[in-house]
């Protein structure tokens, strides 16, 4: 049965102010069911305040073969990191 159900990716917002993070995936026959399943599987220990689900097939992913051209050029651009500033403690999450 599960083989017939499409896969959905689940994103959970842990608390207000934080962004949704990928939590895992569930199988479901439709969008409503996917939301229920995500709730039952990934928020039963009080992990979240908001859930997004999206069909895995709708996600456009980068090709691992393109890693070199996509990501490696950023590796030696140290000046793009804001590490040359002192961040005050009370700024919180950056």
């Amino acid at each position: 049965m599960g083989n017939d159900w499409p896969l959905y990716e689940v994103f959970i917002r842990a608390k207000s102010g934080l962004s949704h993070r990928h939590a895992g995936s569930v199988h479901a026959a439709d969008d409503e069911m996917a939301l229920n399943h995500a709730r039952d599987v990934y928020t039963r220990r009080n992990e979240g305040v908001s859930i997004w689900v999206v069909r895995s097939s709708e996600i456009v992913a980068s090709d691992p073969q393109d890693s070199a051209e996509l990501f490696e050029p950023a590796k030696d651009k140290i000046y793009r990191h804001p590490t040359f500033y002192d961040i005050p403690d009370d700024v919180g999450n950056m």
Binding site: V26, H27, N36
Partner: protein, 252 residues
């Protein structure tokens, strides 16, 4: 019967229905059609078990004889349990579970919402917490009923059969006796008579969306409130109590 005795009995009945429903659902663990359904079902069972614990603990306080939740849950005789008969019916297929849950939870939700308005503080507290759990149970199971009813020919036929089979147990939800009346009058508890048309409308709407037919009016089985059970109750409760009976006072 004075009002304190009525409230105690009322709370115990709520605990009994929650316990029995939770026990039937937990029997399904490892039999779910899908991992996600499996987990949802186990969550639901534990919600009901948690509610049973709160009702029994409150009953112990009302009774004032030092009985604990375990004494009520595990050490009473068969005829001392006064759960709704629908909930003790044996498990069948997944559609049976869905139909049973929709019929009961749609009633239980109305009962809890009314209980939040009563003036027995202990009951208000439990109801306020339980109402959120039951709203989700009902949402989950209603969606499933619609999916199955409006699904394939076979799923439609099977849930229509479940609905027809279980309908005879729904009259009991509203068969108010002395206990219900006293709790209604003295504690502003739920008025079952008033809840019935709302329940029927709510269920009719789900059933219609599921392209199913509401069963015809028929003779209703209502003996649960007197502790008269169907033949399925004995084996269930025996299994549930077996560990406590074999090792009295056992501590996990």
């Amino acid at each position: 019967m004075d009002k304190d005795q009525a409230l105690l009995k009322y709370v115990l009945r709520l605990g009994d229905s929650a316990l029995v429903h939770g026990q039937r659902l937990i029997e399904l663990v490892a039999h779910g059609p899908e991992l996600e359904e499996e987990l949802a079902n186990a969550n639901f069972s534990l919600d009901h078990l948690g509610q049973a614990r709160m009702f029994y603990t409150y009953a112990g306080e009302l009774e004032g004889k030092g009985r604990t939740e375990d004494d009520f849950a595990l050490l009473r005789a068969e005829n001392e349990y006064e759960n709704l008969l629908l909930l003790e019916q044996p498990n069948g297929h997944f559609g049976d579970t869905v139909v049973r849950s929709v019929l009961f939870e749609s009633f239980y939700l109305l009962q809890l919402e009314a209980m939040v308005q009563c003036n027995a503080a202990g009951l208000v507290e439990i109801a306020a917490r339980a109402v959120k759990e039951i709203r989700y149970h009902l949402r989950f199971n209603s969606q499933w009923l619609i999916r199955l009813g409006d699904g394939t020919q076979e799923s439609h036929r099977r849930v229509q059969e479940s609905l027809n089979d279980y309908w005879q147990f729904t009259g009991e939800f509203f068969a108010a006796d002395e206990v219900d009346k006293i709790v209604q009058e003295k504690f502003q508890g739920p008025d079952l008579w008033k809840l019935q048309p709302t329940w029927r409308d709510n269920v009719a709407a789900i059933v219609a969306e599921a392209t199913l037919l509401l069963p015809e009016d028929q003779r209703m089985e209502i003996s649960g409130r007197e502790g008269q059970h169907s033949a399925h109750f004995g084996p269930m409760i025996t299994e549930m109590q077996s560990v406590q009976r074999a090792m009295p006072g056992l501590n996990w």
